[in-house]
């Protein structure tokens, strides 16, 4: 009999999975504790950075990590132990890897999901005044966090579940 994730949708969409994944990745790789924030304090200006890792297989969608350019730089410094003066390729690489680990940690929390859902390599977008649109998602979990005052948000978007 084929595997179906349909029956597990409530487990998959459980918002606690996202919080636990963020805590795991940031604590392990950056030695810090993230705080869950109620809402964005200020818009990400002047420039924002978005990393996207796609899910494919029985679950399709994406994990999206977003922050200001300054926060991306700070997170890259925390993770690598290196210093960066600007948003360069290494910072973008680090930001994409954080998103990759978040996506992997998140899907690993649900039985059956990890083995039936693959990850894309990360894509990183930088710029001003852009939005990411998904047509009629099945569900979306979107939380705001901070690490030592640096704000960022993570979204899990499901646009198909079989």
């Amino acid at each position: 009999m084929g595997v179906s994730l349909r029956e597990s949708v409530e487990l998959i969409a459980d918002p606690r999975n996202l919080d636990a994944s963020v805590e795991e990745v940031f604590h392990t790789m950056m030695g810090g504790t993230c705080l869950r924030e109620k809402d964005p304090a200020v818009p990400y200006t002047p420039e924002s950075v978005t990393a996207v890792v796609g899910f494919g297989g029985l679950f399709s969608g994406a994990c999206v990590l977003r922050s200001s350019a300054e926060t991306a730089r700070l997170l890259a410094e925390r993770m690598t132990g290196m210093e960066f003066v600007e948003l360069d390729d290494t910072v973008r690489d680090a930001f994409g890897e954080i998103c990759n680990m978040l996506a992997g940690a998140w899907k690993g929390r649900v039985p059956n999901l990890a083995g039936h859902c693959g990850l894309s390599v990360p894509a990183v977008i930088t710029g001003r005044d852009y939005n990411i649109h998904v047509q009629s998602p099945e569900f979306r979990v979107h939380h705001f966090f901070s690490l030592d005052g640096a704000r960022f948000d993570v979204t899990i978007i499901c646009d198909g579940l079989r």
Partner: protein, 127 residues
């Protein structure tokens, strides 16, 4: 410990540096590191360089880590050298695939230096 020659394969240069740092934190001060951005590049590196251990990501463009391990065997490169997969893909299915392809161990991202030490040192001692 005498000089340890390592190949780190990951499409992310940041992750390659983080793995190298974890190895040094594990006590491998005399590390000689070769790097590759894909499985295909890793095979090229091994044609010209002998190594003692290989750490490879799975999810990479051009040639993924599983195919890289299969090709090592097919091309008779780095025979007897332990390969550890370091990856976000942590399902039993992925672990099984990696072991079947010839990997000696598995480290899930995110990882601590301690976890790297626990997996790498026994393999180096046994080699």
């Amino acid at each position: 410990m005498s000089e340890i020659r390592t190949l780190i394969v990951d499409d992310s240069s940041v992750m390659r540096k983080i793995v190298e740092r974890a190895l040094r934190q594990a006590g491998l001060d005399t590390l000689v590191v070769h790097e590759a951005g894909s499985g295909a590049e890793g095979l090229e590196v091994l044609k010209d360089n002998a190594v003692d251990i290989i750490l490879s990501d799975i999810n990479m463009p051009v040639m993924d880590g599983i195919e890289f391990v299969r090709q090592l065997k097919a091309q008779n490169l780095a025979a007897g050298v332990p390969v550890i997969m370091i990856t976000t893909e942590s399902s039993e299915e992925h672990v099984k695939q990696a072991i079947q392809a010839g990997a000696a161990g598995y480290i899930r991202k995110p990882f601590t230096a301690e976890q790297v030490k626990e997996r790498v040192l026994p393999l180096l001692k046994a080699a």
